[in-house]
Subunit: 397 residues, 2 copies
Amino acid sequence: MTDAFPYASRMSGMRASEIRELLKLLDRPEVISFAGGIPDPALFPAEAARAAYAEALADPKAALQYGVSEGYGPLREWIAAQMTRDGVPAAPENILVTAGSQQGLDFLAKALLSPGDTVLSEYPTYLGALQAFRAYEPRYDRLRFDGGNRTPASYLGRAARAGGAVKALYLVPDFANPTGLSLGLQARRAALALAEELGAVVVEDAAYRALRFSGAALPSLQALDAEARGGLDASRVVCLGSFSKTVAPGMRVGWVCGPRALIARLTLINQASALHVSTINQIAMFKIVEQGISPLVAAARPHYRRKRDALLDALERYAPALARTAPEGGLFSWVTLPEGTDAAALLERSLVEVGVAFVPGAAFHPDGSGADTLRLSYSLPTTERIEEGIWRLAKVI
Amino acid sequence: MTDAFPYASRMSGMRASEIRELLKLLDRPEVISFAGGIPDPALFPAEAARAAYAEALADPKAALQYGVSEGYGPLREWIAAQMTRDGVPAAPENILVTAGSQQGLDFLAKALLSPGDTVLSEYPTYLGALQAFRAYEPRYDRLRFDGGNRTPASYLGRAARAGGAVKALYLVPDFANPTGLSLGLQARRAALALAEELGAVVVEDAAYRALRFSGAALPSLQALDAEARGGLDASRVVCLGSFSKTVAPGMRVGWVCGPRALIARLTLINQASALHVSTINQIAMFKIVEQGISPLVAAARPHYRRKRDALLDALERYAPALARTAPEGGLFSWVTLPEGTDAAALLERSLVEVGVAFVPGAAFHPDGSGADTLRLSYSLPTTERIEEGIWRLAKVI
């Protein structure tokens, strides 16, 4: 799960030539970027990775050979145990190893969606999911957890009139990209009840779930549903996991956890697409997490909390009138600009006049709304640069 | 590009329970397998890989971070130069790095095919291509280079009656999987002329092209077409390349080479699917091939030639009446059984009675024909085991 500035700009209706000019600005060292949703490389476990790849290559005939499409056995077992610790009683047969959770989104869309089918999501939602689903030509309808959800009959009726069915609810319940917000327990239960009435699959994107740095953890949608139904194989929730935010994204290792019948279907899709995730990367990832993922997560949490604090403090100091979210984890805060402000136009001015980048919010809205919103990622800049960047940004807002 | 025995068996109509029983047999050490189309791990460059991963991890912030969807710049440059040496004047912008050529097949099908469209291929053809294309619901029509090709109007007429268009010709011109056969120069020119008349893209699968061990090399379809049209960007050929057979498949690195407009489309598809190929694997692969891919290829050629010789010698000795191909490269020979023999039934007897595995040929035919054919891969067994295996197999035929 990432999203690139150029892609977001394309979606917000800028011309290619404009984007190219802006991108040149982004490369300048004085530009402070809140745009990329990528983890801080200062957290990468360099020593553990060196040891893991060296150990994997002690058996080159295994590490460099083809593997099975469902994934490397010991890694699937480790992931299943990890899911179980997080409240989802998973066996290895409930796990498909994917090239990051993004690939899981593509495979799920291929398995679930036909053109004209409906996906329910919050507006805004994760840009990479919209992009992964696009090839399968769904339409979107809006989920709201502020009391504004419509009746199941209304969702079903609109989906049928569009020539398809409600096939999936897509949700990022923990520290969502782009808003940083989490669903409360009541909203989680409401989402599951709605999915049940609609007969739809719930796609739970848990890419940031491990990165909670304040507040109390809530059970995942999959944990709630598996408990209610007496097991994961009877659940309608499929969960996307990732090592990209807790270990390293460049290895491209994530997973899908779901009922084994669905996992078997997704495994065939994987076999027809990329065959399997790189063998050596799966073995190396297993060796890294087997040594202990807890210290990595334990280091990441205060690291990102400090950066979030720097961002919120700076917003409070330099732009106190701006509405923004206060995330309890993850990498993002979401800002709503004064009414009538266009975030795409602001980005251009911000880059040219003060050298600050962010992602305009319209890109995250399936219906193209949200022109007056923007996403700030605090993961990459230092706390000093965060303060400096918000001070500069406030000058152009 | 690989294909697993269980998958082939499934396609040849065996029951799941039968397959499970047969698979148990395959795990027995006394079974000699000509089934898997995978490279011999004895050829893997273990030392070079150890050095390459260690060097890549000397800069962990780059090797473990997200990368761009088009691929790692220096690797794209190296591949472009390699394509140019092979007669295709390619720039880095003509290259997309993929997770093996299998992923290139999936992305191309996503870009080119709608349900009901027609793909032309030889019968038999590569199983993994049929599987990659399946999700996009094409129909197939048969290409023949023995003088039996139909008129362009006939191909177009049937495609239109099926409700689509002829979108692609899929060809493995060098040492095809599964037959081991290559297209002659005249057939290559005929394929390009036909594609021109049909207005279709030519998908050239070159996964085995580097593994020629006898006979003279022929220009690739892409080289011929780029020359005729004055450049690659004007060509209708897109070529799939792979390091799986020359370096190692477990790293999952291959490429698509084509006109830059198509590469740009495929790059967006990659961005929506897996984002990009593992950064560390791309960097490590670049370091391995930059050190020299020629010694690896130079070692592989005589290695596989010796095994092919052992296979053909054994077939001549123990089953002289069987029709089989004599490949000039690659990993496969193709056998036609006495008329009326069912290769799937033979496989069952062969495994149970003499402990020999192969892939029944029907799996490679889009129309399910070819029941009396089978594929033998000589890549994995030693020359002694090859002779022993063919001796055993001859007893049950």
